[in-house]
Structure formats: C-alpha cells, structure tokens
C-alpha cells in the first residue's frame, strides 16, 4: 500500500472576472515508502501546483482542489487546516526552488531552524540550538554554530539551499517534496545538493517526490517518473523504461531535445515546436496536439485515455504513440546512476537549450 | 501724532482688556474656605506683555495689572466719571499746570511698604528719568502721550517733556507740576500705565534694563515673572506660568479698601474667540471678554450672564483725501455718508447695545452734541450728490483688515462687504484692498494710502479730546486734509482750562467736524463680556475697567 497515492487531483484557479484556469486536471500517481518519484515537465505544466496542493499551501480563496491524495490512509485534501499544520514539517516536508527568497531575510538562520524543532519536537533553548547545529552540520554546512547566528544574505546560494534542506529534514518526515531544488544553483552545487538529498533519503527511508524539468536530475535520482503536460500525466513509467522507450511524443521530444556530448558532430538538436502556451483544452483533445508532429484529427476526439500500449506499468496518454527505440546512451549513463556527472552535463545542456 | 490710528487700536485693546473683570456683589458665601469655588478663572484673549503696567499699552496687560495696581485717580465702578483712587481728592491751579493730590491714609503695598507722597513722586521721577530702550515709544507709550518726553531725550523724535516735577508737601500730599496745561489731564492720572508701585519695587526695577536693541524689545526680567512687582491693589500677582499661559493672583488681605471676595484670581490665555466661548460653556473658565456678537445670543440662551456695557468707542469709515482727489469734494464725502446703511450694520453685526454713531465721539462722552449734521441712509440722495460733484464714475480703493476683531468692529471683513454693496448700489465702484492687520494695514492707514479705510478708537478716559483731538487737531496723513475751521475748533477746546467751558467747545468742535465730514462715523458698540451662571459678575464698565475684587460665587 503506497505511502502517498494521488488520485485524479484537479486544481482550478477561479480568478474573479477571469475564465477559470485548470492548472491541474486529474493527475494520479503513487509514491511508496523510501521511493523517489519524479514529476517532470516544462514550467507551467502544473507540477509545482500539484506539490503545493499536496502540502495544502494553495491559497484558500480563488482555488478549488478536487480528487483525493491519500497520505498513509488520510486524505490530505480534506484534512482540517489544524491537522494539516501538524503534518506539515513533521510528516510532510518541502524544499523550494529559490533558496534566497524562501528564507526569511530578517530572521537568523538559527531561529528559522529551531522554530520547527520547537513546533514539532518540543525542543527549546540550548537543546534546540544544539540540534539545529547538528542538522546544519549534517547537511554539510561548515562551522554551524556560527552560521546559526547569521542571516540568509550572509550565506552562499548552496549554503542557503542546504539550510532549507536542514529545516525540511529536521523532523525526519516520511515524505519530502523537492520543487526544482537545484534550478537556482550553480552546476557544481546542483550536484552536491542532489547527492545530499539522495543520502538523506537513503538514511531516513524518506520518500521523495522530485519535481523538476531537468531530465538529468530524473535520470540520476528517480525510481518512478511521471511526465506532466498541461496539467495531466501524459506518460508514467519506471525510470529505465522511460529512458529506454519514451512513448508519448512529448516525452520523446523532451529526451530528444537534450544535446549530448557523445552525439555525432553536425547532428541537429530536435527541439519541440512552439511553447506551452500553444495548447488546447484537454476536453477538446490532446493538449499537446498543436506542437505534435504525429498529430491527427483523432487527437481531437476528447481527452485521450491513459493506456499501456507497450509494457504493463508503462502508462501513456496518446492516440498514436511513438514506438521507436529509446535513447540508450542516456540510459547507460542513467544506469550507472552517476548523478554528479549526468546532472552536470544535463544541466549544462539544459542551460544552452534554454538560452 | 503720525500714527494715531495704530495707537487708537492699541489703546482700545488695552482699555478693553483691562476692563473686563469685575464689579460683583459681595456674597457672604464667597468667603467659605477652600474649594475650587474660591478660584475665579477668566479667559483672556492674549498674554500680558509685562507685569509692569508702565511698560505696556495693551489691554491684555492692563486687565491683569489693574487688579494689582491702582492709580492716583480711578473711574467710578461701572461708569466713566473720575473718582478718587489712591488720592482721595485732587485739584489743579487755574493754569492747569499744578496738580495737588491728597492721598488715602493707611494704604499698604503688597511688599509691606506704606503709601506716601514720596512713594508717588518716586514713581513719576522713575518714569521721567527712563533711558535707553525705555524711551522706545513701544515701551513708554502712555508716559509719552500724557507727560511727553524724558529728563534727557535720547532721540530727536521723542516728544518734548511736559512733566516738570513732583514734590511731597507732606507725608500724604503730593504735587505734580507740568509745563503746559493739557486736555489729557487729569484723565491721564487715571491710566493704569501711571499706576503707583512700591518704592522698594521701583528700586529693584532701576537695576534692570530693558534690552534687545537688536530686532525687538526684551522686557526686563522683573516684568516677566511674579515676585518683584508690587502695587496696592486688592490682589497680588503670585505666578506667571508662561507654559500654561496663566497668571495667578491671590487676595491681598491688607488691602485698604473692600477686600476681594475670591481667594484666587486666574487669567488664562485662550487666543481663539470660539475656544474662549467653548471653554466657558464647558465650565473650564468663569468668564471672558470680547464675546463675538454671534455668541451673545447663544450664551444668553444657555443661561450665561452677558451684561451689556455702555459704549465708549467709535467705529468709523475714514477718507484719505490725498489718496483720492475726488474725496476732496465735500459732495462726494457727503454722498458716501448717505450711501452707507449704518442701521443695517448695527442691526446685523453689532452686539445688543450697539448704536448708530452721528459723530466721532460716543454719546457717553462729555462733549457729545445733539446738534450735529446727520447723514441718513439715502442711496438716491447719494447718487444726486455724486452727479452734482460730477463724480458719477467714482471708483475707490477700500482697505480693510483681515483676521482681526476689535471691540468696535467685531467682523471687519463682513462689515466691509456690507458697505461695499451699499456703495455699489450708489454707483460707486469699489476695489477691495484686504490687508493683514499688522503691520500692513496699520501702516497703510497711517500713511493715508487707502481712499477708504475702517478704524476706530476706545477712550482711555472721559474726555472728548481723547477721541477727536487725536485725529482732527491738525494735519494728519491718515486723513490728508487741512481745514482751519476744524483745527481751530480743536485748539480752542484743548487750551480751555475750565472743564465745563471745555465741554461746550467740544460740542462746537463735533458740529464743525460733522459739517466737514472727514469720514463717516458708523457706530459705537459695547464690547461684550460673559460670565458663568454661578458667579456674581462685577459692575461692567464702558471703559472695560471691571474690578474683579467685586466678583463672588453664588
């Protein structure tokens, strides 16, 4: 029985005067004890919203959340705010994208760490400070006792992210959600952070929900991968399977658009046409159709169902999926699971692609 | 007398303020020990300038000092006749230059000194021998008005000394001699500015200079804090709290006359007219002066006591003939006089007891004449006169003061507007020239730069010369005319030593003046004073010289 099982999660923004916007429409996936699950997709595909919905951090007004999210038997979505507070930080923890803006600029690091210890572990005063120092030390921040007294702006980017992680793992949560934890960091730091996360997850047996657009990270870290497009899971598979045989044209495109150092000279990149804005409502058909090479009128017969056209457990939401071979080189590297290396190249690549 | 008008004003304020408090019936209950009931608080319009009346010329100061200092001669309570003060009797020789005073026996100063003829002379000689800043007309205005200059005049502009000397014939007989007879005497002897101080105090004063030639006068220290000054009045000044804007006086138990009814008398400055009224309504003060006419009705309705004073001032519309040649034509002056609806002004602007004026003295002053030419409201007549003068297209600059109220003109701006529309009805074009009271307006009027202007005067003492004399005794820039008929009439009256004859001459003079119409006397109005329900107010005085010793609580 999964630790977290999300079922048909939908999030709708109802801005006043504006047309409702379905940011997430019917996302389902599971996370098991100690498992690392990735949510992959371009920015705006609804992955962050999903995570916030799970944490109950979406604003109350102007947002309607539907579906279920069973965490260890209890539905997070219908939980009372009070209960949710108790879970947050102790059972569920989250790491955010931009470490600088995610830390309170006018409160010393120490306080920001100890306050969570005080809240969930009842640690006060000296004890709390000791524990906090230990935490910082554990996430690899040198000279922790001094750092405790410092303010976020006095720390380097990597340090800040480590501090955030320290807070997140302070109470040994059972599920850790990391929302693009490395995007704001330098390449080398990224690798270290990923390493750190990995260790922590292994040590504590924490389940990790990794939200990213960086396939390198996925390759390095995740056991199970869900690819989101326009607020729906379009492909969901075990990591190797996905890299071996990306079946949804979008997933396929994603992998194809990554430049590879070992690619033969002169071979052009295969970027996906257009942007996430060129979309159609799922109700009308496949949201990806406008950017899809394989698009046919069939794509417009309502929402395509999630099927398993290839191997059991490998779900794809597409009327005419890709059956070409996967990207083995990448798979190899992934197999070696040399995160540092991959993350490095991938991210570097990612940067270029973005530029 | 270049600056009469401003003087006028000053004095008015002075006299006015001074008056305020006073005469009330003595109630036995007033005596009961302790309790706030023994403190009478009066709302003043401004802080006193000095605790030594000799250095002052404004009413706010005199209002306070009058309770602690007495002059040789005083006015009858609630009236304008001269009666004995510290001198129980006085007389002058036939030339009117030698004045003899019989002093009261057993008069004690607040510092324990006894009142003697020497004490009196010490005062007059002290003033006469003033030097330096003390000779500034801003400091010794009244001395200079009544007694002329000093032993040594330091500035050529100071008037020539008229004071000759003072001798003590015996312990209680003082003789004061002057060079020339003056219409200002004996009235002048009653001025608070010439009130008698304790010799000990005088010695203390002598040690201190008024300083600050720089940009303004700094009054000597002794005049800015209680302690040194000592007079003979029913109250002694015990404290001046400038922060709180309060002067506190206490009953002087060795007072030679009838003792004060209340233990404590406090003057509290509240600049805002409406603030004073509300303070009274809220019960924070027991009385205040300069009640806005509009408030009189309100206060009466609410059961406050608003005794009506006799009028002792005159409000006039002045012509400056050098500013506008057209005004040199008598018809034009008459036309304007006819054009103005004085009735309406009195009806709508003045407090109860206000009167339309027919001449430049109020009817309460000896020398008032019933036979003067009058100029009733008649727009058509005004038009005719203008046509006769060939001035159908007459246009005038009309100056009026803003942000000021005077006992004789409660709301200058409003009065101006009323007259403006009157004049316009008569076909005269009016160009409004509103000015800040001081110094702009006063300078302008002094120098006769306005065609028309509004001013007035409240008498210091009952002598017509104190009114018309200040204006029409000779050429004055304010009026800008030379007319021997008028000037001679004045001379004649002034130089007449015999009191009764003088009064007749004054009546003549008034008739001459009103025939010449140098301006339009508008009205006389009683400055209103108000008291709380639970006090027995003093007798109100036309000179606004109420005596707070008379006040008691019901």
């Amino acid at each position: 029985m999964a630790l977290l099982s999300v079922d048909e999660l939908t999030v709708t923004f109802t801005g006043r005067g504006r047309r409702d916007v379905k940011a997430v429409s019917g996302v389902s996936f599971d996370v098991d004890q100690g498992q690392v699950v990735g949510l992959v997709g371009e920015s705006g595909c609804g992955k962050s919203v999903t995570s916030l919905a799970l944490m109950g951090l979406l604003p109350r007004r102007g947002v309607t959340v539907g579906g279920r999210a069973e965490f260890d038997g209890t539905d997070l979505l219908t939980l009372s705010p009070g209960r949710m507070r108790d879970l947050r930080g102790s059972q569920l923890a989250m790491i955010f994208q931009d470490p600088l803006s995610s830390l309170n600029p006018v409160v010393p690091i120490g306080v920001q760490v100890t306050e969570i210890l005080a809240r969930h572990r009842g640690l006060k005063g000296e004890a709390a400070r000791k524990e906090a120092a230990a935490l910082l030390d554990r996430v690899g921040i040198p000279d922790p006792t001094r750092r405790l007294k410092e303010y976020p702006h006095q720390l380097s980017g990597g340090m800040r992210q480590r501090a955030l992680i320290a807070m997140a793992v302070a109470c040994a949560p059972r599920l850790l959600i990391a929302d693009e934890p490395t995007t704001a960091l330098d390449v080398t730091i990224q690798a270290q952070i990923l390493e750190l996360l990995k260790e922590l997850v292994d040590q504590q047996g924490t389940a990790l929900l990794m939200i990213t657009h960086d396939l390198g990270v996925v390759a390095g870290l995740c056991d199970q991968v869900n690819v989101l497009y326009a607020g729906r899971v379009v492909e969901s598979a075990e990591r190797r399977e996905l890299f071996a045989a990306p079946t949804h044209p979008y997933a396929h495109g994603l992998l194809g658009s990554i430049p590879r150092l070992d690619a033969p000279r002169g071979e052009p990149l295969k970027p996906i046409r257009g942007s996430i804005n060129d979309t159609i409502a799922w109700t009308d058909g496949c949201a990806f159709a406008p950017r899809c090479d394989r698009y046919t009128l069939e794509c417009l017969q309502g929402t395509p169902a999630l099927g398993e056209p290839r191997t059991p457990g490998h779900q794809v939401r597409c009327v005419n999926p890709v059956f070409s071979r996967g990207v083995d080189e990448l798979r190899e590297t992934a197999l070696e699971s040399d995160a540092v290396e991959t993350a490095g190249t991938a991210a570097a690549a990612d940067k270029e692609a973005g530029a | 007398m270049r600056i009469t008008s401003s003087r006028v004003v000053q004095t008015i304020a002075a006299a006015l303020a001074v008056g305020v408090i006073a005469t009330g019936c003595a109630s036995e209950r007033g005596k009961d020990e302790g309790g706030g009931g023994d403190t009478f608080v009066f709302g003043a319009a401004g802080d006193p300038a000095s605790l030594d009346p000799a250095l002052a010329s404004d009413g706010e100061t005199f209002r306070v000092t009058r309770q602690a200092f007495e002059a040789l001669i005083e006015h009858e309570p609630g009236g304008s006749e001269l009666v004995g003060g510290l001198a129980k009797s006085w007389e002058s020789d036939e030339t009117g230059t030698k004045w003899t005073f019989e002093l009261q026996e057993g008069v004690k100063f607040h510092d324990g000194e006894k009142l003697t003829a020497e004490a009196v002379c010490k005062n007059y000689d002290h003033w006469f021998n003033w030097t330096g800043t003390y000779q500034n007309s801003a400091v010794s205005y009244y001395w200079q008005t009544i007694m002329g200059g000093f032993a040594e005049n330091e500035s050529k502009d100071a008037p020539k000394a008229n004071y000759k000397g003072c001798t003590a014939e015996d312990e209680l007989t003082a003789v004061i001699e002057v060079h020339e007879p003056s219409a200002n005497l004996p009235g002048g002897f009653s001025l608070q500015a010439l009130a008698i101080h304790s010799p000990k105090a005088i010695d203390a004063y002598k040690k201190q200079e008024a300083t600050g030639e720089d940009d303004a006068i700094t009054y000597p220290k002794y005049s800015q804090e209680a302690g040194t000054v000592a007079g003979t009045g029913p109250f002694r000044i015990v404290d001046w709290d400038k922060g709180n804007k309060e002067v506190t006086l206490e009953r002087f138990d060795d007072y030679w006359g009838e003792k004060a009814k209340v233990k404590k008398l406090v003057f509290r400055t509240i600049a805002e007219e409406s603030a004073r009224r509300q303070a009274l309504q809220a019960g924070n003060i027991h009385g205040y002066d300069l009640v806005a006419p509009a408030d009189v009705a309100t206060l009466e309705k609410e059961g406050f006591q608003v005794p009506v004073r006799d009028v002792f001032n005159i409000f006039y519309l002045g012509f400056s003939q050098e500013a506008n040649k057209a005004l040199q034509k008598k018809e034009v002056r008459q036309a304007i006089s006819h054009a103005i609806d004085r009735e309406n002004i009195v009806k709508t602007q003045l407090p109860e007891g206000g009167k339309v004026a027919t001449q430049f003295v109020p009817d309460t002053v000896d020398g008032y004449s019933e036979k003067v030419t009058t100029y009733p409201f008649d727009t058509d007549k005004a038009k005719d006169l203008l046509k006769k003068a060939g001035e159908e297209k007459l246009a005038v600059d009309f100056c009026y003061p803003t942000e000021v109220t005077r006992p004789y003109m409660p709301a200058p701006a409003d009065m101006f507007e009323l007259m403006k529309s009157d004049l316009e009805k008569a076909g005269i074009k009016v160009d409004p020239k509103p000015m800040k009271w001081a110094p702009t307006y006063l300078d302008a009027t002094e120098n006769g730069t306005c065609d028309l202007h509004l001013l007035g005067w409240t008498g210091d003492f009952n002598d017509a010369y104190n009114f018309i004399g200040t204006w029409f005794a000779g050429y004055d820039k304010q009026w800008g005319f030379r007319d021997d008929k008028v000037f001679d009439a004045m001379k004649a009256a002034e130089s007449e030593p015999d009191a009764t004859k003088r009064v007749e001459l004054y009546q003549k003079a008034n008739e001459v003046v009103m025939d010449y119409v140098p301006g339009v006397p508008i009205s006389s109005s009683p400055p209103s004073i108000a008291f709380a329900k639970d006090v027995n107010p003093p007798k109100v005085s036309p000179l606004t010289q109420e005596n707070f010793a008379e006040v008691s609580f019901k």
Partner: protein, 317 residues
C-alpha cells in the same frame, strides 16, 4: 487535402479558444484593470461631476453669489440664519447671499487652485527631478555632482513642513489667490522632483538603457526617448493625488488666514474657514463647503490610488 486544411483550421480555432489574454502591453493591461476597479470608476465620476460644476457653475448659479440679496433676513449677531428653502436650496450665508450659488461658483475657484498649484509643482518638480535624474543616469562624474547639488536643495524643501513653506511664500508674496496657488504648488515641487528622479534611476539601470548605451545611442536621446517616458507613470499618479492634497492644503491656508483675503469671491476653503464662526447656530454653512472639499479630494484620491494599482507591475497577475 481537405482533411489537412480542416485539421489546421480546427486546431487553429481550438488554440485561439485557449489563448489567454496574457501578453497585453503595460498600458493596455493597466487601462483594462482601471476600468475594472470600482475605485477608479467612482473617483472618475466624482471628478467628472466636480469639473462640470466648476465649468458651468457660474452660468447655472441661480443668483449672483456676491449679491447680498436677502441681507435683511440674516442676523449673525443674533444667530438668526436662513436654512434651505424654495428659492435658496442651501439657505443663505451670514451676509444674506445664496449659499447654493456660492457653492456652485466656489467649485471653479477651488478647482482652479488645485489644478494651477499642481501644474506648477508638477512642471517645476518634474523639470528639476528629470534633469538631475538624467544627469545622474548618464552624466558620469559631472552628472553626479549636479544631481547631488539639486537633491540637496530638494531636501531642504522637503525638510520644511508644507504649511510653513506655504506660509513663508504667502508672507513674501502678500495675500492673494495667486499666492495660495503658488504656495501650495511650491509645496508639491520636491515631491515630484524626488519621484521622477527615483523613477528615472530605476529606469536608468534597466536593461534596455544599457542596451541602448551599448548600441551607442546618443545620451540625450536615451534620456528623452526612453528613460523619461517610461518614468512618467508614477508621476502621473502622483499628479492626481496631488490635486487632492492641493485642495486640502489650500483650505488649511484659508483657515490660517492666508487664503484669498477677498472673502466675497466664493471659494470652498475660505467659505469653510469663515463659516466656523457660526458653527453653533448654522453648522451647515461650514458643512457644505467641507463636504465639497472632502468629496472632491476623495474623488482625486480614489482615481489616483486606482491608477497606482493599475500601473503597479507587482500587482499584475
């Protein structure tokens, strides 16, 4: 063939349907949100009414606002006033003049004071601020020096309580309606100067300026062509708000006796200051002009605030 086309067509229309209104330009977007905001609408309406009254007032006023037509009926000295009645909708003032006519005509004076004063403050202030801002952004060393000097002066002005500043001006120029306008206007100068300069500094750092400089565009052109226009929006907002302040400040000056001394000319501030004398017996005489001032000021404030919100990029969704 046909399938291909209708493939595209179908897709096109669906895509169009899904198109969000994102990507509209700053001004368009601002305008859209301005129309959406209640504040703006109310404000605009109030101002509209006020301006109309100010313009047509003198013609529609039933009586001459300065003529004491009912002089005989009002006795301020006995608290006898005439309230609203058939011929005088708002009753009579303390000199028997028609209050309603005075209110109507007064609107113009009041608006005049507000507008002239603000324009003065705006022009001078914007000039100063613009110059020193431009100097600082593009002037190098010299520019910096210029800027420091100018801003020091501005600081001096800012250091004075507005009223005192106004009083000083009034004292020097003597009392008149013009004085009031100038006095109130002068008070606004430093505000505008600082604002525009600040905005220009922000703009100065903006990428497009650096780009322009890199492309060797002449500095004056950058300043006038790019920085200035982009810096104006906050100044415009301030302008609207200043109109409100100006009207209130003018009233305050009148209360201090520094207003238009010719009280015959109806102006709300003066009317208010005058009427306080009769507050107990005829409170409405004070309340009418006071309401006039408050509501008008409110109108400008509402619009100004709404504009600020509309133009604030932070608040854009």
């Amino acid at each position: 063939m046909s399938t291909k086309t209708d493939k595209i067509d179908r897709l096109a229309e669906l895509t169009a349907a899904a198109e969000t209104s994102a990507g509209a330009g700053l001004w368009v977007e601002a305008w859209r949100r301005l129309r959406a905001s209640k504040m703006a609408v109310i404000g605009a309406v109030v101002i509209g009414v006020f301006v109309v009254v100010a313009i047509v007032g003198p013609w529609v006023a039933p009586y001459d606002p300065t003529a004491q037509l009912w002089r005989g009926e009002v006795f301020p000295n006995q608290n006898v006033f005439v309230g609203p009645r058939g011929e005088n909708w708002l009753g009579l003032d303390h000199l028997g003049r028609d209050e309603f006519s005075r209110m109507l005509v007064g609107a113009r004076q009041t608006l005049l004071v507000g507008v002239v004063a603000t324009l003065l403050g705006f022009t001078v202030g914007a000039l100063i601020g613009g110059v020193s801002g431009a100097a600082l952004v593009l002037g190098g060393k010299v520019g910096q020096r210029i800027d420091t000097v100018v801003m020091r002066v501005i600081d001096i002005m800012l250091a004075l309580p507005s009223l005192l500043l106004a009083v000083s001006v009034a004292a020097v120029l003597g009392q008149s309606l013009t004085t009031v306008m100038i006095a109130v206007g002068v008070v606004q100068i430093p505000v505008f100067a600082r604002l525009l300069r600040g905005a220009m500094l922000a703009q100065g750092g903006a990428d497009y300026v650096l780009a322009a400089q890199a492309l060797g565009v002449r500095k004056r052109r950058i300043a006038l062509g790019h920085v200035l226009p982009n810096s104006l929006s906050p100044v415009i907002v301030q302008g609207t708000l200043s109109l409100a302040t100006a009207i209130i400040e003018a009233a305050a000056l009148s209360y201090l006796g520094l207003g238009n001394p010719d009280a015959a000319v109806p102006e709300w501030g003066v009317m208010l200051a005058q009427a306080q004398r009769f507050f107990d017996s005829a409170p409405m005489l004070a309340v009418y002009p006071a309401l006039g001032i408050i509501i008008t000021a409110l109108g400008f404030t509402l619009l100004g605030e709404a504009m600020r919100e509309a133009l604030d990029p932070k608040l854009r969704s």
